[in-house]
Symmetry: C2
DNA sequence: GTCTATATTACGATAGAC
DNA sequence: GTCTATCGTAATATAGAC
C-alpha cells in the first residue's frame, strides 16, 4: 500500500510534542520557530498544522499535560499516615518527579506569560491545587503538634521553591547522587517545620 | 539652539535600558522587538543603535548591571558579627533587594539561555560569588557550633531558592506586609540551619 | 542624534497538488 | 497526511539625509 513520502509512523503527533518540549525548554517559546520543530520531527512546517491549530495551543497542551501528570502521579502516591510521613512522601516525590520532567518543569515556570489569559488561569488553578496539597499536610502537622509554623501557606510556598530549586543545579554526574540530595532536602524540610524542643 | 525633532533629554541611553528591562521581564527577550523598545522610549528603532551595538548586548548589559549592583549593595551590608547575625543580614537583604529589583531578578533567571557562551560565563561567575558568600557564612556557623548542616553548598542553594521564591507570589496589596514576610522567612532559615537540642 | 527608507531575512499560517 | 509554494507580516540592522 502506498505511503506518502514523509510518513514513517503514526506517531507524528507525539513526536511534535516531544520536539516542541525540548526546543521550548532549550531556547524559549518565542525563540523557537515552527520550522525548527518540523525539522526535528522530520516533516515540513505545513504538516504540523494537521496536528495542532496553532503554536499557542501547542504550548498550552504541553503545560496542561505536565500539570495533569503531576497531579495524577501525586495522587498515586500514598496520601495517608502521620503528617511527618506524608510530608516525607511529598518531599521525595517532588524531587524525583521534577528531576524526571526537567524540560516540562522548566517551561512551566518560564512560559506562563506566553499563555492567553484564560489558558493561564487554567494552569494556575492546577498549580494551586498542588500547593494546597502541601499546605494541608502542614496544617495537619501543626494541629497534631508535630510541626511548628507561623504561616502554613508561606511555608508551603517556601518548601516548594526550595525543592524545585534542585533542578537548577543538580547534574547526574555531579558530586552527589539524587538519593543523597533527596535525603539532604528531607532533613532540611524536617528542620523547617520542626517543633522546637 | 537647534534641537533635533525627537530629542527631549540627554538620557536616552538609560531610558532604553529601563524600557528594555521592563519589556523583557513582561514578555521575554525573544518576544520583544527593537521597535517596541523604541516606541516606549519615544524614538524610532534605528536610533537605538546609537546606544547599543545589538539586542544581545542590551540583554547582557542589563544582567551584568544587575549582578554588579547585587554584589555592591551586599558588600555595603555589614559583614561582621556572629554567624547568626550575618545569616540574618543576608536573609533580610536578599528579600528586600530582590523585591526592589523584580524585573531584573526575573530576567536574570529567565534569559540566561539567550546569552552567548562567554557572556553567560561572566554572569555565572558573579552569581557564584554571591552563593559562595552565603556558603561561607554557613560554614562559619557550623564551625562555631551555631548551625547544623549536612552540606553547606546544598544548604546555601536551598536557602537562596527559598528566598528568591518570594518574588513569585508576594504582592504589595496582599495579606502580608513585606516586613512580616521577612520575619517569617528569617524564622524558617533559622530552623533550617538549627542545631537540634 | 534622530529621522525615513530600506536591505535582507524570517516568521506563522494557508492553499492546493498528490 | 505531507509536500511545495506562497501570502502577508514583521524582524534586526544599516544607510544617508538633516
Amino acid at each position: 500500500m502506498a505511503r506518502t513520502s514523509g510518513s514513517f509512523s503514526d506517531i507524528t503527533g507525539p513526536k511534535i510534542r516531544a520536539a516542541a518540549l525540548r526546543l521550548f525548554a532549550r531556547h524559549g517559546y518565542a525563540a523557537v520557530s515552527m520550522r525548527q520543530i518540523a525539522g526535528e520531527v522530520g516533516v515540513q512546517a505545513g504538516a504540523l498544522y494537521n496536528y495542532i491549530p496553532d503554536k499557542q495551543s501547542l504550548l498550552f497542551d504541553l503545560l496542561k499535560g505536565h500539570m495533569d501528570e503531576l497531579l495524577a502521579e501525586r495522587a498515586d502516591n500514598h496520601l495517608t499516615g502521620s503528617p511527618t510521613t506524608r510530608l516525607e512522601d511529598f518531599t521525595r516525590f517532588h524531587i524525583r518527579f521534577h528531576h524526571m520532567r526537567k524540560d516540562a518543569v522548566f517551561i512551566s515556570y518560564m512560559e506562563l506569560r506566553n499563555l492567553t489569559e484564560e489558558n493561564f488561569a487554567l494552569i494556575e488553578a492546577l498549580r494551586s491545587r498542588y500547593e494546597n496539597d502541601l499546605q494541608t499536610i502542614l496544617e495537619a502537622g501543626r494541629a497534631s503538634g508535630d510541626f511548628t509554623l507561623s504561616d502554613a501557606k508561606v511555608s508551603a510556598r517556601a518548601i516548594i521553591a526550595m525543592l524545585t530549586g534542585v533542578n537548577t543545579w543538580f547534574r547526574e554526574d555531579g558530586r552527589l547522587k539524587l538519593a543523597e540530595v533527596e535525603q539532604i532536602y528531607w532533613q532540611m524540610v524536617q528542620n523547617l517545620v520542626a517543633s522546637r524542643g
